[in-house]
Subunit: 326 residues, 2 copies
């Protein structure tokens, strides 16, 4: 059976999936890329894992090509450019590296666009013409699906919601500026806030049972679910910043829905409740109660993998859904 | 000769123009609507002025219809809804009022969309596929032209840039919330800042020669042009807020250009210099130097009048330029 390898390249881990033309993912694998010190180590590790993964399934499936979703990529040039959460040089020719190594057709798009295409082609976005997808992971990204089409922008940088500045003189961000949304409301930003509160104050929290180096965003939402006050307050703060940012995006293009994806979206109601509360408080009065905020209609991380793979299916004319971009 | 009446409804004044299908405006008139106390008085005054205007040109031109650009309008319902800078009831059926009074075909869109269509069909936007137009008048509005099409949003509220919240607990705004961009960077917001500085401090300024009630945004940019320090600082402050807002819009959809229109755009370099300075400081590093910020390619106020009129030409299939919206 024909499949496509879909890859979601991330700062903490990269996700692989074998994807059919209808979006079903028949095998998945996660590759830990956190400890790679530079791009050589990163791609050596990633390529080795991909080969093992493909080898494992070679008997049953034929791989037609590779679709990649990656942060900070210039898809026309095929390079990763100044990627904020990676130990990379300013410009990494990711498309050529993959083509040279695998000898297969390779297509590249921004991770946020990949997830947005996945949502539009296979997820909750199939039935609506205007939505915004926001990915909350190591960083924050996303994509715009407006008038039934993906909006990539003039240089391909549309959907960089993580780099909306929410505090002009705020926390330093990996991009070199200050006060970007992702410095506060990504999984990394949330962790930063928690560690700050744990070290600067002496309030009680079940999170104190964990070593700081072990503490992950997942622990914070599990603690919040168990009623831990500090964790709930931290999620309230994330919800305030995200709710405000989404309200400003609503005033900008009035979508029918926002979808939250990425690791932090697994927090579901712990995240959605404060986000919706602040969104409704901040949104233009004319839009109150009119825009839904939900987590992705696809399973965790699957939107980006399926969307990245769909680039190959689209180029082979094996799917004829939405127009990618004109 | 066939013409269309294009109207740009504004909080301070409304502008009328007789427009040909190629966008040329053969006659203009401005109607002062500042002193009208409610919608009855407003439309009585406006209709009377329109009749005089049409009567004056009846011998030479035949009016084919009316195209209206108006703030806070729900174009599907044909009503002005909670218009922030007008002494109006919550919902004013503007489309029906015009149809009943004039017995002509009437088309309605948001003022920001009208200006954006004007720029796209007749102005500097004719040659590019991705731009954002921002109108700086009594309020702030605008429109999005992405992938070669106007983006109206799900409920028609896209482009409400004036209601992007830039200070969560900031100045009250006419919309009932706090800290909206237009409370700072519209002509009204600029005037507010100037009056605040003149009354709270004792710094010298040539603006002190004017009575507070007479002082207009125009006086501030004339003073800035003459080197008045206070006026230059106020424009620097407006430039900082606008530059940041445009940088955040750039991270959101990466346009090729921003066009500034409306009364405040007449300040040209006095406004553009600080806006560009802060925009480049705040924008995503990958986009530095790549996005232009210019004033509208059409003469002052003409984008909105011509764009509003183009709705009628478009519906008569007499122009076949860009797709308005799908």
């Amino acid at each position: 059976m024909d499949v496509v390898l879909g890859i979601d390249i991330g700062g903490t881990s990269s996700k692989l999936g074998l994807v059919q033309a209808d979006g079903s993912i028949i095998a998945k694998r996660s590759v830990d890329t956190k400890r790679c010190k530079n791009e050589e180590a990163f791609f050596a590790c990633l390529f080795e894992e991909i080969e093992l993964f493909l080898e494992q399934h070679r008997a049953n499936y034929h791989c037609e090509g590779i679709g990649i979703g990656a942060p900070s990529c210039d898809e026309q040039a095929g390079v990763l450019e100044k990627a904020a959460n990676f130990p990379f040089a300013d410009s990494v020719p990711i498309l050529r590296l993959f083509q040279d190594h695998f000898g297969l057709p390779v297509y590249l798009t921004k991770d946020g666009n990949a997830a947005t295409l996945g949502e539009a082609r296979y997820g909750a976005g199939q039935y609506i013409k205007n939505f915004v997808l926001v990915t909350l992971g190591t960083g924050i990204g996303g994509g715009l699906f407006l008038n039934g089409r993906l909006v990539k922008g003039n240089n391909g940088w549309a959907g960089e919601f993580g780099h909306i500045i929410v505090e002009p003189d705020g926390r330093p961000c990996g991009c070199g500026r200050r006060g970007c949304l992702e410095a506060y409301a990504s999984a990394t930003g949330l962790r930063r806030t928690v560690l700050q509160r744990l070290t600067q104050g002496d309030e009680g929290s079940i999170l104190r049972r964990l070593a700081a180096s072990e503490l992950e965003a997942k622990d914070v939402y599990l603690a919040a679910k168990m009623g831990d006050t500090l964790s709930l307050e931290v999620f309230d703060g994330v919800g305030r910043r995200l709710g405000l940012a989404l309200a400003n995006l609503a005033a900008t293009f009035d979508p029918q829905a926002f979808f939250l994806a990425g690791g932090l979206a697994a927090a579901e109601e712990v995240l959605l409740t404060p986000v919706r509360k602040y969104f409704e408080a901040f949104v233009l009065p004319q839009l109150r109660g009119r825009i839904s905020i939900e987590t992705s209609g696809l399973r965790l991380n699957e939107a980006a993998i399926a969307g990245a793979a769909s680039l190959v299916w689209h180029h082979k004319n094996l799917i004829t859904t939405h127009d990618e971009c004109k």
